[in-house]
């Protein structure tokens, strides 16, 4: 009796461990294979590059949000900051006639500033970033609407299209920017003192403070990173469509959170890796693309994304309970 118990137990445990580690990747492969079979034109080089392009702004924002989530906070303002940044860079280029690099740098600084606003209040007073960024979301969207008067901004200089439409070989420039963002955030998380502190604060803020971690700085920096990424996504987006509108990308927040959660970062903080978010982003992008190819309307895609988030969270929580 004891013997069979001994033999069975390790095998079960191994399966769970494998699933906990590679579950997301396996799920991604399954989705990928299914889409390749059911949707014509899914598995072509041009479509895959297209997915990469479509994934880029979600991916850039998800990279920033991952850092925030690991620090046990959340940034609900990313989609609106993205729109405001798109409007900001477009208006700087068309109305103010600022040179392209200057316009981009100013816009990225705006993103950092908005992040610093939430981050400093969160760090100083211990207000949850959840509520602060909800306010910033409204502030940013409102500012974008007022600045544009509700209309579209067009007429950006041709050279600006390189960021969002340009390609190096078959690879879209936006995809490369996204990959570099992922790499940069990965290096911050794994190779810097700040990265260790982000995990420490996310795991136990009070213990981290007593251990000498500057909790204020950690909160400030994570929100600034997220703000920066959202602004960068705004630049990429405005370049892709060569214009800006205050209400574009209103549903992007959903996709960004989905990418991070599917990627396995714990909303309770302290856990998460960039590679997970990369896969989470690909899952969302492939889903969107596949559903488009299959001719499923955008309204129903929302239902699909909602369902996927629930599923991912469920797998995460059930899996963790089992392993623990």
């Amino acid at each position: 009796m004891a013997d069979t118990g001994m033999r069975r137990q390790p095998r079960e445990w191994d399966l769970r461990a494998i699933f906990a580690t590679y579950g997301i990747a396996i799920a991604f492969l399954i989705i990928f294979v299914i889409l390749s079979i059911v949707a014509d034109n899914f598995l072509t080089l041009s479509n895959l590059m297209n997915i990469l392009l479509q994934a880029s702004n979600i991916g850039i924002m998800a990279a920033g949000l991952t850092v925030v989530v690991i620090a046990a906070e959340i940034d609900l303002s990313v989609a609106s900051v993205q729109s405001l940044a798109a409007v900001c860079v477009s208006m700087l280029l068309t109305r103010a006639g600022v040179p392209i690099p200057v316009a981009i740098v100013l816009t990225l600084m705006l993103g950092c500033l908005l992040g610093a606003f939430s981050g400093s209040l969160a760090g100083w007073f211990g207000i949850p970033a959840f509520i602060l960024t909800l306010a910033v979301d409204s502030l940013a969207r409102g500012s974008a609407l007022i600045a544009t008067g509700g209309t579209s901004v067009f007429g950006l200089p041709d050279a600006y299209s390189f960021i969002g439409q340009g390609r190096i070989g078959p690879v879209p420039v936006a995809g490369i920017i996204c990959a570099l963002t992922f790499l940069a955030v990965h290096l911050i998380l794994t190779r810097t003192v700040l990265g260790t502190n982000i995990y420490a604060v996310g795991g136990n803020k009070e213990a981290a403070r007593i251990a000498g971690v500057n909790v204020f700085a950690v909160k400030l920096y994570v929100m600034m990173i997220s703000g920066f990424c959202a602004a960068l996504a705004g630049v990429v987006m405005s370049s892709r469509i060569m214009g800006a509108q205050a209400i574009m990308g209103v549903y992007d927040l959903m996709d960004v959170i989905a990418a991070v959660v599917i990627g396995g970062a714990s909303l309770l903080g302290g856990e998460g890796r960039i590679i997970g978010t990369v896969i989470g982003t690909l899952v969302i992008a492939c889903m969107r693309n596949g559903l488009n190819l299959l001719g499923i309307p955008a309204d129903w895609q929302l239902i699909a994304v909602g369902g996927i988030i629930v599923l991912a969270v469920l797998v995460d929580y059930v899996g963790r309970k089992r392993v623990a």
């Binding site: 190779r191 003192v193 260790t196 420490a200 251990a211 000498g212």
Partner: protein, 515 residues
């Protein structure tokens, strides 16, 4: 002694295997009506598994558990509770934001009239209040049932847990380390209550690390070691030394080694430190190579004082200087930069970084102090971490402090209490600590690991480090510290030299009412 036909609770040859460990092996145990049966053993001896098996939180692989003569080993926690088997765990299970009354009735609310299902019923608030008042009065517990649990000291929370069990007709109460965080007076109150419960025929299983308590209380004492039943002693059958030897399985000549202080230059000066009602007008000095102790009741302000010195909590007035330099308020980082480090009372919530591995935990403080020697070694300019260097440093320290971990990459949360404590000690030393504040350094740590920690402290003090020990284990403070400051209601009531101090004296100063 407690002569009934069959015992109230009986375990027969109970075994439980976890992957890789045999947590309990053929353990026999019984408890009579109105009896207090102590269970002792080191960490890993099987006490927790025994409790869980009795509670129904885990199911033994083999053996029988009889309650009142009938088998209960298949029943759930809730079913066993309904029969009268209650467990009060060390981490109390009260909900801090709710009142005493709400906690007592949690899950058992009295209701009135008809209702929908079990959830949508009208709570009988008047009835519950009356029941609560009666219950607390019966047990002579003087607590307002309307008070929020969060506002109560630990000792009172424990009394409420006991009241809760008694209120729901407990016949067996298991108390897991109930005295660890209590001062002498609170302990006395608990013991009185325990006597009362025994008088009512309730059987009590009492788990404790504190040998004196076990000997004072136990009608019988069962010793577990490595998952096996070593022996069961009748009252008075063994003294402290003998019991410790049975627990650890090896002779220990000294439980508390004397640590030699050789005070050098003045290092830390605390003057007239005051923080609201927590502590008032506290002044003391600490020299290099000195180990001093803070004794007193829980709630006498010892922990609050240490947290203020460390900059964890703010204070109102007074001054702290280290090496002649003033220390900024409310900045743990500032204290660390001045080479002061603390190991807090609550290792789990204020000590370890639970989601990180052992090596990162050890280096966590140093890497944030770019000026420190270890900080320079494990980072590039205080910004970029050098994982190879962190690993090498951790390996060194793990060996030096004999920290038992599978690998430096093991999550610290998976280590035992004693090894976590040693890792936190390593963290403080990595940060270049010259003053170590240790709040209940051996709380919840087994006898073997305790001795190791005393050895490490002796070594550090000999090297010129200064140590402040806060402890509720009076014999511990008395033995290892060269000076003992006794706190009483936020003030220093006495300062005793080791030669002049005795457990009785300390307890007297800690409990006497001032003017």
């Amino acid at each position: 002694m407690t002569g009934t036909s069959h015992p109230l609770l009986q375990l027969k040859r109970v075994s439980k295997r976890y992957p890789g460990v045999l947590a309990l092996q053929d353990v026999d145990f019984d408890l009579g009506v109105g009896e207090l049966h102590v269970v002792v053993g080191e960490n890993g001896a099987g006490k927790s598994t025994l409790i869980k098996s009795i509670a129904g939180a885990t199911f033994p692989d083999q053996g029988e558990i009889l309650f009142d003569g009938s088998p209960v080993q298949q029943l759930s926690v809730a079913r066993r509770k309904a029969l009268g088997i209650h467990v009060i765990y060390q981490e109390l299970s009260l909900i801090p934001t709710m009142s005493v009354m709400q906690n007592i009735f949690l899950g058992n609310e009295l209701t009135r009239g008809p209702g929908l299902g079990t959830q949508f019923r009208v709570r009988d608030i008047g009835g519950m209040r009356q029941f609560c008042l009666d219950l607390l009065k019966r047990l002579r517990i003087d607590i307002d049932p309307e008070k929020r649990v969060a506002d109560l000291p630990v000792a009172q929370k424990q009394l409420i847990e006991i009241a809760k069990a008694v209120g729901f007709n407990a016949r067996v109460i298991v108390m897991d380390e109930p005295t660890t965080s209590l001062g002498p007076k609170e302990k006395q109150r608990l013991f009185e209550l325990i006597d009362e419960l025994k008088g009512r025929g309730i059987g009590i299983i009492f788990i404790s690390h504190i040998v004196e308590d076990c000997i004072a209380l136990g009608d019988r004492i069962t010793v577990l070691r490595d998952g096996r039943h070593v022996t069961t002693l009748d009252r008075g059958a063994a003294g402290a030394a003998k019991l410790v030897q049975l627990i650890t399985g090896r002779p220990i000549s000294e439980r508390y080694p004397e640590i030699k202080s050789s005070p050098g230059k003045l290092l830390l000066e605390v003057r007239n430190l005051t923080s609201g009602k927590l502590f008032r007008d506290v002044s003391f000095d600490l020299h290099e190579g000195e180990i001093i102790g803070f004794a007193g009741l829980v709630g006498s302000g010892r922990t609050d004082l240490m947290r203020a010195i460390m900059g964890v909590d703010p204070y109102d007035s007074g001054s702290i200087t280290i090496g002649g330099q003033p220390l900024r308020r409310y900045r743990p980082r500032a204290a660390l930069q001045h080479n002061i480090a603390i190991l807090t009372e609550d290792r789990k919530t204020q000590g370890v970084l639970p989601n990180l591995d052992v090596m990162t935990n050890i280096a966590a403080t140093a890497m944030n102090l770019s000026g420190s020697a270890v900080g320079k070694r494990v980072t590039v300019g205080g910004q970029i971490t050098r994982s190879g260097a962190i690993m090498a440093y951790a390996v060194e320290r793990i060996a030096a402090l004999n920290i038992k971990a599978h690998s430096p990459r093991q999550k610290i949360a998976h280590l035992s209490g004693g090894n976590q404590q040693k890792a936190l000690l390593a963290r403080a030393l990595a940060a270049g600590a010259r003053v170590l504040i240790l709040d209940e350094p051996t709380k919840g740590i087994d006898a073997g690991a305790k001795l190791e920690i005393y050895d490490i402290l002796a070594d550090l003090v000999a090297k010129g480090l200064s140590v402040i020990v806060v402890s509720s284990e009076t014999p511990e403070v008395q033995a290892i510290c060269s000076r003992i400051l006794v706190m009483n209601r936020g003030r220093i009531a006495a300062e005793l030299k080791r030669e002049d101090a005795s457990v009785e004296k300390i307890v007297t100063y800690a409990t006497q009412s001032l003017q």
